[in-house]
């Protein structure tokens, strides 16, 4: 209460004035593009869902192209937003401006361009044919180049004089950026043995999300909390270090739950089962870091943009614990996985974990940075809150419907041994409810993308020319 009074009287953040680092503005285009890609994704996906309800309707693109667009967008737009938020918080944590401004500028246009090119190539049916990694070889090189530039900028900035080398937030972001590159490279090779191919594929499909992105999530949220609340730096960083170590252990070892049935020895069942259970810990720790000594009065003194960010962070944490943690854990137990592997339950988990945990994080920070720095109007905030509610509601309906469909599918198909297509017909009602949830979700996504697009358009000079 006393602290709150002081803040009311003397104003906030006297000790560390914001906007001190001009290079944070380089994050704007990343955030804008990420949200626009998200808006594009929800529209494409809804169009794809139409085919499920009216199978005989002529579709503009074949199903497989649509699915490739969906999967790749779901990996890459959160990554673009994560890059933006890292560029936004890195200068303040490093107490210095970013290096290589032209490179970052170029990167902010190059990455969206590469992504757009990849998506276009899918429409023409070009594919590498590996789930989530469909981009053909030349685009793989382009993505690697983008990731290398990202890591390069962060590393050179980190090596500058006067940067606190032992800051956990900086180390987390650096480790995340380099792990993206190192894990992508082996995925550019052709593996003749299908089991080896599967094993290597999950270095991206699993480790990218559960380790690299998780490192960004933990570090960026910590940096955010340090900048807007009265959290003690030393205590927060110590917990963050513990968290980062946990993430690096479980991020790698929990990948074992993808190695149950691909031709690897049965010892992976044990490794996968044990570490998937432990994997719940970092997500709980993440919540603890945030909720610990969180003061109610602080919420009231927050600006609208910060309140918005907290909303998204709490949604992300909720889905971390529920979708990624609990549902993922149940799925990853070998005896359960045996029956529900490759059913809609996996799909439900993917929606909760990918969008719920990482999507909300990425959207939250992209929205926070843009609304805060570009002076959004109260009307904008109102629309964004509406979209926030719609996104949550839609995701919940979608995820729960998919989970029921998946559980039924596992029972009817895997346990009873019904024909696959017969099972598909039986669970169709739940898939249609899922489409209903999807439509609500799309409503939220479109409102969000539209609001941000208008906000960005009003400030196009700021975003494009840094003026």
């Amino acid at each position: 209460m006393f602290r709150w009074l002081i803040r009311k009287i003397f104003g906030r953040r006297q000790d560390n004035p914001e906007g001190q680092f001009k290079t944070r503005a380089l994050a704007y285009p990343f955030c804008t593009f990420a949200i626009l890609f998200f808006g594009f994704q929800v529209i494409v996906v809804t169009m794809g869902a139409v085919e499920l309800i009216w199978p005989n309707m002529p579709a503009p693109v074949p199903f497989r192209s649509g699915r490739m667009v969906h999967l790749n967008l779901s990996v890459f737009w959160p990554l673009i937003a994560a890059m933006g938020s890292v560029f936004y918080f890195f200068p303040k944590e490093a107490k210095t401006e970013l290096n290589h401004l032209t490179t970052v500028r170029m990167l902010s246009y190059l990455f969206p361009l590469v992504l757009a090119a990849i998506l276009t190539s899918f429409v023409f049916g070009l594919t590498e044919g590996r789930e989530y990694l469909e981009a053909i070889r030349p685009f793989d090189w382009a993505v690697t180049f983008v990731l290398l530039l990202f890591s390069f900028v962060l590393t050179t900035t980190y090596l500058k004089k006067g940067v606190p080398k032992f800051r956990a937030t900086l180390l987390g972001m650096l480790a995340g950026s380099w792990s993206l590159v190192l894990l992508y490279l082996p995925n550019m090779l052709f593996y003749a043995h299908p089991s080896v191919d599967e094993a290597v594929k999950f270095w991206i499909v699993h480790i990218w999300e559960e380790m690299s992105m998780e490192l960004f999530v933990a570090s960026v949220i910590a940096a955010f909390l340090l900048s807007v609340t009265s959290k003690h730096r030393k205590a927060t960083e110590t917990i963050l270090l513990l968290e980062l170590s946990f993430i690096s252990v479980t991020g790698f070892f929990a990948t074992s739950h993808h190695y149950y049935w691909i031709g690897t020895p049965s010892s992976w069942l044990w490794i996968g089962g044990i570490f998937s259970t432990l994997q719940v810990l970092p997500s709980l720790l993440l919540i603890y870091v945030n909720v610990k000594d969180f003061k109610k009065e602080e919420i009231n003194s927050l600006s609208s943009a910060e309140k918005m960010a907290f909303g998204f962070i709490f949604a992300s944490l909720f889905y971390h614990a529920m979708g990624a943690g609990m549902l993922g854990w149940i799925l990853a137990l070998p005896f359960a996985n045996r029956y529900v592997h490759g059913t809609y339950l996996t799909s439900s988990h993917a929606h909760f974990a990918l969008f719920g945990a990482f999507g909300f994080f990425a959207l939250g920070f992209a929205v926070y940075i843009l609304t805060k720095e570009l002076n959004a109007s109260p009307k904008d905030y109102f629309r964004l809150w509406i979209s926030y509610i719609l996104l949550n509601l839609g995701l919940m309906i979608m995820g729960v419907a998919l989970a029921i469909a998946g559980t039924l599918q596992g029972y009817l198909w895997r346990v009873l041994g019904n024909d696959f297509m017969h099972t598909q017909e039986l669970i169709l009602p739940y898939l249609i409810i899922r489409v209903g949830g999807g439509v609500i979700f799309t409503g939220g996504g479109v409102i969000l993308a539209w609001t941000i697009a208008k906000l960005a358009w009003r400030n196009k000079r700021k975003i494009l020319f840094l003026s």
């Binding site: 199978p55 199903f63 497989r64 699915r67 049916g125 594919t127 044919g129 590996r130 789930e131 032992f166 956990a168 180390l171 003749a192 043995h193 299908p194 089991s195 080896v196 599967e198 094993a199 030393k234 960083e237 110590t238 270090l241 513990l242 980062l244 170590s245 690096s248 252990v249 790698f252 070892f253 990948t255 993808h258 190695y259 149950y260 049935w261 691909i262 031709g263 690897t264 020895p265 049965s266 010892s267 992976w268 069942l269 490794i271 045996r338 029956y339 592997h341 490759g342 059913t343 996996t346 799909s347 198909w413 895997r414 346990v415 009873l416 041994g417 019904n418 696959f420 297509m421 598909q424």
Partner: protein, 142 residues
């Protein structure tokens, strides 16, 4: 504080090292295995046609069509050859047929699927109630 940082860095380096050593240990017999040429061609075909967008292999892939890990065992090669030569309608569509393949391509793809079929996966997919009943009735007939 710095001590904690070093501990975290060491953990972050050791964890992947152990993980990749274990994984290499498991995968090395497969890396050394000699894979027939037509299986490799079949796998490239599987990838370039984007089969994984609808079908699953080892349970990983799209959920709109059946898993093909054990399809050679379940359907037999003759059935698959006929399937690709004269692809049937894709349920529940009324106009759209499954993509077809020319004879050479079909042979390569079936060789690949037969290779996948032989990969030793422990206890998956689970033997279900119906197939158990089938096995019992077959046993009785014999």
């Amino acid at each position: 504080m710095n001590k904690f940082v070093w501990i975290a860095i060491i953990i972050a380096l050791i964890a992947p090292a152990i993980f990749f050593i274990l994984l290499y240990n498991s995968l090395s017999p497969m890396l050394q295995e000699e894979i027939p040429e037509n299986v490799v061609v079949g796998k490239r075909l599987w990838q370039s046609k984007g089969c994984v967008e609808c079908h699953t292999l080892f349970g990983n892939g799209g959920y709109n069509a059946p898993d093909l890990t054990k399809t050679v065992e379940m359907r037999g090669k003759d059935y698959l050859e006929k399937f690709f030569a004269k692809p049937p309608m894709m349920r529940p569509h009324k106009q759209r047929k499954h993509p077809g393949l020319i004879e050479k391509e079909a042979a390569d793809l079936i060789a690949f699927l037969a290779f996948v079929n032989e990969v030793p996966i422990i206890g998956w997919p689970p033997e279900h109630a119906k197939s158990k009943a089938d096995n019992n009735s077959n046993g009785a007939e014999k």
